[in-house]
Subunit: 147 residues, 2 copies
DNA sequence: TACATAATGTAGCCTTGGCTACACTTGAGC
DNA sequence: GCTCAAGTGTAGCCAAGGCTACATTATGTA
């Protein structure tokens, strides 16, 4: 009594499209960490002259152990340059990514604030949203701000 | 030559706030999967009369193995009711969550489209964004749509 | 009814990203 | 120049969420 309904295929949202969207979301998730780290490192370097593991840990809300392991991966991927017991530096690639992220973050926060969302909520939401904003959507946000 | 710069503390973004935001983002990430699954199950049930593992796998863009393991977790958490080789059913709790997600998804997509973003991009972006939209921000989106 | 095929389930592997507990370096100050 | 606290590194645990390969069940159809 369950095979009868097998044929129709009139999904509310087409399966293929949602699968594609979710795969995109998963890809984005994989780069979220890198983005958060390089952005934090850039900010800390600007503010303190250097970025240290403890500072990053405080800033990112995780333990220094997590920071350490993640930095190893980011070094493997060419975003940062790390030496034992030394400060953390961004590579050119890392700096480029950080600049993009800071730019995008600024637009997303400003956009949310322009909708009447309080600064603090805007910050919190932006942190989650910004990694999933496509260039087209970012452009739309910027357009809306310009008006 | 590196200790000198340790004192100032004038972060571009306060550490505590960013840490808090990121912790919130991580909490949201933990519920993303549950939301995507219950929403997909609700949609499939509405469209086909039932939700099967293969359909879910196709819809979510993963293998049936991943679906299976995740369903076990969702059952543990009380969102779905699963029996071997049978269709998947939402519990009351699962249905409630699915309804919320569908509602939120609709608003986010409509909002993005209202900004001039093409339907397909809006769908893709919404899939990533919707999980990080706070009630306040969702309300702001709805307000903007009403205008 | 029997069987082939599709659906489902299981075993076991990988990576990421949390954590605690413990070990080792560094460097500021006595 | 020693010492000790803070910072950093390492070992090893856990859960989530991907995967392939293989085993098992259900069922439409010959």
């Amino acid at each position: 009594m369950k095979k009868a309904v097998r044929a129709p295929r009139k999904p509310v949202r087409p399966s293929a499209l949602q699968a594609e969207s979710l795969q995109q979301t998963r890809r984005e998730h994989a780069s979220e960490t890198a983005e958060d780290y390089v952005e934090a490192i850039a900010d800390l370097t600007a503010a303190h002259g250097e970025a240290r593991v403890v500072d990053l840990a405080r800033r990112l809300g995780v333990t220094h152990v997590t920071v350490n392991r993640t930095l190893a991966r980011l070094q493997r991927e060419g975003y940062v340059s790390v030496q034992p017991y030394r400060a953390i530096f961004l590579t050119d690639r890392g700096r480029t990514l950080a600049a993009e992220c800071q730019h995008r973050h600024g637009i997303v926060v400003a956009f949310l604030v322009s909708l009447g969302i309080p600064e603090k909520s805007a910050e919190i939401d932006a942190e989650g949203i910004e990694h999933h904003v496509s260039p087209a959507t970012l452009a739309a946000f910027a357009r809306h701000l310009a008006k």
